[in-house]
């Protein structure tokens, strides 16, 4: 054995100790928990379970999912905001600032940090297949000439509502919102002819479109990412930058005071997970597409714009005074 090889082995053996020197103890050394602020059985729980499954390989410890439903995500988010900032308790959620703006959340935006944006949830604007509009352009022309077209959506405070309302205002469509309880009621109202338009989760309307019951006029972001017909326009391509789409991001959060090195370890794990071949396929099954973005970039470039738009909508609808 030559000297270089011996040296290499010594370095290899010492390497773990070197890292221990950095952070006092090896992270992670016990199971990591991802909190889901919704009841079990829904898409959010499945999302967290899938992320966990792929992260486990890169973290080397089990990842468990814990459900803390209630208060429209406030109870689960508060739990993570108050958790020990050691990187072992994380949160899987969309944008959490809405409850903070309304004032129902007992925590501040600064109490949590975004580890990364992992996936995007697809949303569409759909009409019945016998609707008079052949495409989105015709609908836009009609809506602008006849203000007051009613659209159903899964509920006030849901991201689909804010996203559609943001489009409605920026594109001056003059639509009026009819809040239903969940995607199922919204799609029922559309199919039953009670409203002419509905906004909701891509996967719900995709199934109806394949059966010839509805027509998808618009996919809020890139249609092909969700397995939709690629000729369906999206906001960016249709309005050519004049309308800003507030995407439906799904993030991994950690308590704000979590040490930087640990956040980095977690971020690497989720980034590597998103690049695994099965990950994108599993996300597609539940209507998500992979869109990894580091937390700092989100907080610097995307979040302020989202907050500004949503705040305007909330003021107009009476959610905040």
């Amino acid at each position: 054995m030559d000297r270089r090889k011996i040296l290499f082995f010594i370095v290899l053996i010492l390497l773990p100790f070197a890292f221990q020197g950095f952070s006092a103890e090896k992270f992670p050394s016990k199971p990591v928990t991802i909190v889901v602020p919704f009841p079990p059985g829904g898409v959010s729980g499945i999302t967290a379970m899938t992320w966990g499954k792929y992260m486990e390989k890169h973290l080397g410890v089990p990842v468990v999912v814990d459900y803390k439903p209630g208060g429209g995500t406030v109870i689960g988010t508060q739990y993570v905001a108050n958790a020990a900032p050691d990187g072992y308790v994380l949160l899987n959620a969309g944008d959490i600032f809405t409850s903070i703006l309304v004032g129902t959340a007992p925590y501040k935006l600064e109490d949590l940090t975004i580890v990364a944006q992992v996936t995007l949830n697809g949303n569409v604007l759909a009409v019945r297949s016998d609707a008079p509009w052949k495409n989105f352009q015709e609908f836009v022309d009609y809506a602008r000439k006849n203000p007051g077209v009613k659209y159903a959506h899964p509920g006030i405070g849901t991201w689909v509502f804010f996203r559609t309302e943001s489009l409605n205002r920026q594109a001056k469509l003059g639509m009026v919102n009819v809040p239903m309880k969940g995607d199922a009621e919204a799609v029922s109202a559309l199919l039953g002819g009670h409203v002419p338009v509905a906004a909701g989760s891509t996967y719900v309307y995709k199934a109806q479109q394949e059966a010839g019951k509805v027509k998808t006029l618009l996919s809020f972001d890139k249609a092909e990412g969700y397995g939709l017909d690629p000729t369906i326009p999206d906001i960016e391509s249709f309005f050519k930058g004049s309308v800003y789409d507030i995407v439906c991001s799904i993030y991994l959060y950690a308590p704000a005071k979590t040490p930087k090195e640990r956040i980095e370890i977690l971020r690497n794990a989720i980034e590597k997970a998103t690049k695994e071949p099965g990950f994108a396929e599993d996300m597609k099954k539940i209507g998500h597409r992979v869109a990894y973005m580091p937390g700092e970039k989100v907080m610097r470039e995307v979040l302020p714009k989202k907050i500004e738009i949503v705040k305007g909508i909330m003021k107009d609808t009476g959610m905040i005074k």
């Binding site: 009841p39 079990p40 059985g41 829904g42 898409v43 729980g45 499945i46 379970m49 459900y67 803390k68 439903p69 209630g70 208060g71 429209g72 406030v74 109870i75 508060q78 309304v102 004032g103 129902t104 007992p106 007051g148 009613k150 509920g155 006030i156 405070g157 009026v176 919102n177 009819v178 809040p179 239903m180 309880k181 969940g182 199922a184 009621e185 799609v187 029922s188 109202a189 199919l191 039953g192 002819g193 009670h194 409203v195 996967y203 995709k206 199934a207 109806q208 394949e210 059966a211 019951k213 099954k285 539940i286 209507g287 609808t317 009476g318 959610m319």
Partner: protein, 503 residues
């Protein structure tokens, strides 16, 4: 594929040892979570969802569906034995079921609810099989104005839930409506009456309120009475008598139809048809005075309706891919994980799931009947436990069950507070069923009323220009007038009697 071909195809896939096994596991777990107060089918199904990842999608759905309709069999048990509604769908069963148990007739009550559940479940599967697609489209015709009208009709029936004064019942309805406004405003999202409590943001939970008002208040009442056991009379018979049968067959058949219809509406489920069935039976009965004192019709109707309702809910789910309630949404989630797209094409693309589920329901209902009838003998022995031992056990089960729903300790506090509220109200002669039903209906009524007006740009004409909503509102008006008239006649008679006494 024609219907019988489909059914045979479904039976062929169900009558496999492993599919039968999963179906059996599902219905058994369903019965158990139904019996345990608090934890219901939603909790059990979501906990077991990950366990189904390894099996075929059809088998997974068969097992999960079994939990749902199985829970409807078990749900009546605690309502009848100890006055604690195991699920929201068995609140109404407390009214007469518990009275029957006190009189030593828990056996017939449990028996008729198992048999009613079986008949209701089986009849609805037949209906599901033959008319799922056309009926699902009828369900879609119910938009916000129709729902509002339906809620008005339901509201006018609530006063039938009361045994005594109509005035007191109306007071309780208003209290229930007020309690129903707590939480997020459904139209603007503004938080109402939540006093900074994140738990109250979702509204006051139905399960803690039901368990508090019925279960905890019952314990408090019994402390005062120094009751030795639940029984006030000897246990007479275990199975329903011929007379019980004769009186129950009408309620069972009507309950099946009502349950199935309410179940298939968007937002429908097994809760609302139970009290509609109860009210209808009381109205049709030749001896309405027996209701609330142990009338078997008051158990047979609602218990059939909740089973038929849970099966009816599969209509929009299987025919259109639209889950009408959160429980069916879990089934949709299970299909999604398996990569099966639930939608109107499910029947063509995945006939093994569509027909498999239908066939499994026939088999599952038979399993449930066989499972539940022998259990009756065991359950009624609980009644012989001295109350000083049974009471702490009931309290423990209430506390654990209430916590198990959302793992939220605040809900335990809500349950106990409502236990005391229920005790005070009962001592003052008020009845609690109208309160809790109004609390369920109020938020649905409010959201649909306001949405209707958004749809019509503020015009009230929308309620009368749409045929379904106009008809329902007309019926509600008639019912309201007729109950008002009968209350007036009763009052008049009483006055005449009083005056006569003075003479």
């Amino acid at each position: 594929m024609d219907i019988f071909g489909g059914l045979l195809f479904g039976l062929k896939s169900v009558l496999h040892v492993d599919t039968l096994f999963y179906c059996f596991v599902g219905v058994t777990i369903g019965t158990l979570v139904g019996v345990l107060p608090g934890i219901g089918p939603i909790g059990a199904m979501s906990i077991l969802l990950p366990a189904t990842f390894g099996i075929s999608p059809a088998t997974a759905i068969i097992m999960l569906a079994g939990i749902y309709y199985g829970a409807m069999y078990g749900g009546s048990t605690t309502s009848i034995l100890v006055n604690i509604p195991g699920e929201a769908a068995s609140v109404v069963t407390c009214l007469d079921g518990y009275q029957m148990a006190k009189k030593g007739r828990a056996g017939p009550a449990l028996g008729i609810s198992a048999i009613g559940s079986f008949i209701g479940g089986t009849l609805s599967v037949v209906a599901l099989m033959f008319v799922a697609v056309p009926l699902a489209n009828v369900g879609l015709r119910f938009g916000p104005p129709e729902f509002f009208a339906l809620m008005c009709l339901s509201m006018s029936l609530i006063s039938y839930l009361a045994r005594g004064s109509t005035f007191n019942a109306v007071l309780m309805i208003f209290l229930g409506l007020i309690l129903g406004t707590v939480g997020m405003d459904p139209i603007t999202g503004f938080p109402r009456f939540y006093f900074g409590s994140t738990t109250l943001l979702d509204g006051i939970g139905l399960i803690p309120v039901a368990m508090g008002l019925f279960g905890i208040s019952e314990i408090l009442m019994n402390i005062e009475l120094k009751a030795r056991s639940v029984l006030e009379a000897k246990i007479r018979n275990i199975f329903p008598t011929l007379e019980d049968w004769r009186r129950s067959i009408g309620p069972i058949l009507r309950g099946s139809v009502l349950g199935f219809f309410f179940g298939l509406l968007p937002g429908g489920g097994a809760v609302i048809p139970t009290f509609v069935s109860y009210s209808v039976e009381k109205r049709l009965s030749k001896h309405p005075e027996e209701f609330g004192k142990g009338a078997i019709e008051g158990v047979a109707g609602p218990e059939t309706a909740n089973n038929a309702g849970s099966t009816g809910a599969f209509v929009p789910m299987l025919a259109l891919g639209i889950p009408p309630n959160p429980i069916l949404a879990i089934l949709l989630g299970a299909l999604m994980i398996h990569g099966v797209q639930a939608g109107p094409l499910l029947m063509q693309k995945n006939p093994e799931i569509f027909w498999g589920v239908i066939a499994s329901m026939y088999v599952g209902n038979i399993m449930l009947l066989i499972l539940n009838l022998p259990l009756i003998g065991l359950w009624i022995r609980i009644l012989k436990i001295p109350y000083r031992l049974l009471m702490p056990l009931i309290l423990l089960f209430c506390l654990v069950g209430c916590y198990a729903v959302n793992s939220n300790p605040t809900e335990i506090v809500i349950m106990i507070v409502f236990g005391f509220i229920g005790y005070v109200l009962r001592r003052c002669g008020y009845e609690l069923a109208p309160l809790i039903i109004a609390m369920i209906l109020g938020p649905i009524m409010e959201a649909n009323f306001r949405n209707s007006l958004i749809m019509s740009d503020g015009s009230f004409r929308i309620f009368v220009t749409r045929p379904i909503s106009a008809t329902l509102l007309f019926a509600a008006g008639l019912l309201f007038l007729s109950s008002g008239f009968s209350a007036y006649r009763k009052a008049k008679k009483r006055v005449i009697e009083l005056v006569g006494d003075e003479d």
